[in-house]
């Protein structure tokens, strides 16, 4: 990535089944593939899978830690792989380009084996 600048890597605690129940309640996404084991097995997933938006949320919580005095203007994620409870997610990121008061960045969510779950892009703008 040439002149891109790496941001501090942030690790989130192991995702638990209880956390998926809490995320379902918090978000309102009650698709049982995330919380009901027999349903998820029947769906061919081998067990419950983590809400993609929970993992995107980890990136969303990391951005203000990286850029305290900036506002997030754009944030997009592509969900590349399924996450299971028991996995630990690590968030990494890069500043790709700087234009006036705006930074163009990329971020990734992966597990400890390096399996990528999300590739994301975001833009932040310096607060006045």
């Amino acid at each position: 990535m040439g002149s891109s600048k790496e941001l501090e890597v942030i690790q989130f605690p192991e995702i638990t089944h209880s956390q998926l129940v809490k995320y379902a309640g918090a978000s309102g996404d009650f698709n049982p593939i995330h919380t009901v084991e027999p349903f998820a097995v029947q769906a061919g997933l081998g067990g419950v899978i983590v809400h993609g938006m929970l993992v995107m949320g980890f990136i969303g919580e990391t951005i203000p830690k990286w850029f305290e005095n900036y506002a997030i203007k754009k944030f997009s994620a592509r969900f590349k792989g399924i996450t299971k409870p028991g996995e630990k997610i690590v968030i990494s990121g890069q500043i790709i380009e700087e234009q006036a008061d705006r930074l163009f960045c990329t971020a990734q969510a992966a597990n400890l084996d390096g399996d990528v779950k999300i590739v994301a892009k975001f833009e932040v703008q310096k607060k006045q």
């Binding site: 029947q42 949320g57 919580e61 951005i63 754009k74 994620a77």
Partner: protein, 135 residues
């Protein structure tokens, strides 16, 4: 085995309004930051909060309205553009429509566009959700 979901292109969902309450913000912050004592001011609303507005605010289930099989539904992509910041107390009206539907590699891709407008009639954010249904 095509599902012919293309007929839904242009479909507009019922418009709804959702008031951002502090307790729902706290609940999301807590689950996104487990074991964390990170101090967030009361004005802090996570950037992924629109998901809460969408699921709790919408009077209908999009999956149900499109007759999607929940066992086969995955979230493919999510995009947000923020024109303003969301704030506790905001009354957010959401207009959602199906922007595109296409099929690729035995999957249907459904692209839904959402506009989040506050009580002052200001555009706060635009969301784009791509839902995948496996055949």
């Amino acid at each position: 085995m095509s599902r012919n979901l293309e007929r839904f292109i242009g479909h507009e969902f019922e418009i709804y309004t959702y008031t951002i309450e502090q307790s729902k913000v706290n609940e999301l912050v807590a689950v996104l930051n487990p074991n964390s004592t990170v101090e967030r001011g009361n004005e802090y609303v996570p950037v992924t909060f629109p998901t809460v507005i969408e699921f709790w605010g919408s009077p209908i289930s999009i999956a149900k309205e499109l007759q999607l099989d929940l066992k086969k539904v995955l979230h493919g992509e999510q995009e947000y553009e923020y024109i303003k910041e969301f704030a506790v107390g905001d009354e957010i009206t959401v207009a959602s429509a199906i922007e595109n539907v296409y099929e690729k590699a035995s999957m249907s891709f459904i692209v839904i566009n959402k506009k989040f407008i506050n009580q002052k009639d200001e555009l706060v954010a635009i969301g784009k959700t791509t839902i995948i249904e496996r055949f």
